[in-house]
């Protein structure tokens, strides 16, 4: 048996033992009063009329500022001979410009719409990633040295339907605007009907296409929001939420490694992938609106 296998087996055994011990010692610690969606509630912190500050706004501001500061900082330090970080940024820039934008529309449109698509990608990406850093924004409080500190929690502005909805609406208006500008109102509406469809069928298809255009807003926003929310919820459950809900402490020890694995999965893949999907779909919609055949 190799050394690493021994260590692995030892760790596995210790983990199992810990689970059993937790079951025996705290087996029926009893349910606590815990409501998971409280983590996603948005109580008003500062009253500013329609511009109330709450947790989502805080996350929005943090990620907005970080997006700007990071990108401007990098842009100001661009050098002829790139270091590793600059190379990574250049690769990211290349992906945004060439793959996401130019890959889905003609060059003239790409030059015009790249800032929007790039900003969408970076803004969503930063929002998603910031969402996985625990910040003291929790619903409950704990006391350290007399200071009442909110519990640390993970939250993302994109895990709230309002944020993706606004971005989706922006995309919807952008591509509708571009489509109408390229083809005129009548031309654009006519272009919604696929080529070759005529007669009574055309009317039916037109209604369907109109609906599907509006559904794009829903699908675009819900895809992002639901993915982020589900990620946060499952991490929350694995990291102790389920143990409290069910009142079985042992299960918490058992689920924690799964929680860590899911956390890494969310940060490493889902956060980036969702930003990429949102930006790519936006580019496809904008490119498709001006394309000759729909």
């Amino acid at each position: 048996m190799s050394q690493s296998r021994k260590i692995l087996l030892g760790a596995g055994g210790a983990y199992l033992l810990l689970v059993v011990l937790a079951f025996i010692l705290f087996g029926s610690a009893g349910r606590q009063d815990f409501v998971p969606q409280e983590e996603f509630e948005l109580p008003t912190w500062i009253e500013l009329g329609p511009l109330d500050i709450n947790k989502a706004v805080l996350y929005l501001l943090i990620s907005g500022i970080l997006t700007c500061v990071t990108m401007v900082y990098i842009a100001k330090r661009m050098e002829a001979k790139p270091n590793r970080i600059q190379t990574a940024v250049e690769v990211l820039y290349g992906v945004m410009r060439d793959n996401i934008t130019r890959g889905n529309m003609n060059d003239k449109m790409a030059a015009k719409w790249f800032p929007f698509i790039g900003a969408l990608f970076l803004f969503i990406w930063f929002n998603n990633l910031i969402g996985f850093i625990p910040l003291p924004t929790g619903h409950h409080h704990f006391t350290v040295l007399g200071l009442e500190i909110p519990t640390f929690g993970i939250y993302a502005a994109t895990a709230n339907v309002s944020v993706p909805l606004v971005l989706s609406l922006l995309v919807f208006f952008s591509y509708t605007f571009e489509g109408i500008r390229a083809k005129g109102v009548g031309g654009y509406l006519k272009s919604l009907i696929p080529a070759g469809v005529t007669g009574a069928m055309a009317g039916f298809i037109f209604v369907l296409e109109l609906l599907s255009n509006i559904m794009r807003i829903v699908s675009l926003s819900v895809r992002l929001f639901a993915n982020m929310l589900a990620g946060h919820l499952i991490i929350l459950f694995m990291a102790g939420g389920l143990a409290i809900l069910l009142g079985i402490a042992g299960i918490g020890v058992f689920l924690l490694p799964i929680g860590i694995a899911l956390y890494l999965f969310e940060v490493g893949l889902v956060a980036t992938l969702q930003a990429f999907i949102f930006a790519t779909l936006s580019a496809i919609y904008i490119g498709g609106a001006v394309a000759e055949s729909h």
Partner: protein, 185 residues
């Protein structure tokens, strides 16, 4: 159970999870708008400029490298041509020298042969002349001896006409040519 109940409550209560909140939407518009403007006007142009500059630089260096390579190739070709020319010329020179030397050798050999033959001829002629002279001398000495011998035998001197006749008779019978031939051998 608790969870299900809570979820229902959340949907009704509008915790901002599923139902949009106007405040957050406005904030999103503002924050995204500012981010868009900052990226559009400040960050992206600089990055694009740096990338374009680098691309131009790379293209220029590739062009320069290609030009240099072409020049080097041209030079190499020229040098090779010159080298092969020089080699050809050298071969020519060597061949010419060899031909000249050969011609010289043959000429001098022929000359030497001619000279030798001339000398041999001369020698041969000298020997013949010498031989003729010797034979002549022997003949006259033999004549004198014959006269003397005849005088001694006849006890009288022969007059000149007699002498002459006798000698000529005697000598006519002797073949001195054989003697000459023997000497030459």
């Amino acid at each position: 159970m608790n969870l299900l109940f809570a979820a229902e409550e959340a949907e009704e209560g509008g915790s901002g999870l599923v139902s949009p909140v106007i405040g957050v939407m406005l904030w999103t518009l503002i924050v995204f708008g500012i981010t868009l403007i900052v990226l559009w006007k400040v960050a992206f142009p600089r990055i694009a400029e740096a990338l374009d500059k680098r691309q131009r630089m790379i293209e220029e260096s590739i062009d320069t490298a290609e030009k240099t390579k072409r020049e080097a190739d041209e030079l190499l070709r020229e040098y090779r041509e010159r080298l092969s020319d020089a080699r050809g010329q050298a071969d020519d020179i060597v061949a010419r020298a060899r031909r000249t030397a050969d011609a010289h050798e043959q000429e001098s050999q022929a000359e030497a042969r001619t000279k030798r033959e001339e000398m041999m001829d001369q020698t041969r002629r000298d020997i013949e002349a010498e031989t003729r002279r010797a034979i002549q001398q022997i003949r006259s000495e033999v004549a004198d001896l014959t006269v003397l011998a005849t005088e001694k035998v006849t006890r009288k001197s022969l007059d000149s006409s007699d002498q002459k006749r006798l000698v000529d008779e005697a000598l006519a019978e002797l073949d001195f040519a054989a003697l000459a031939n023997e000497e030459r051998r």
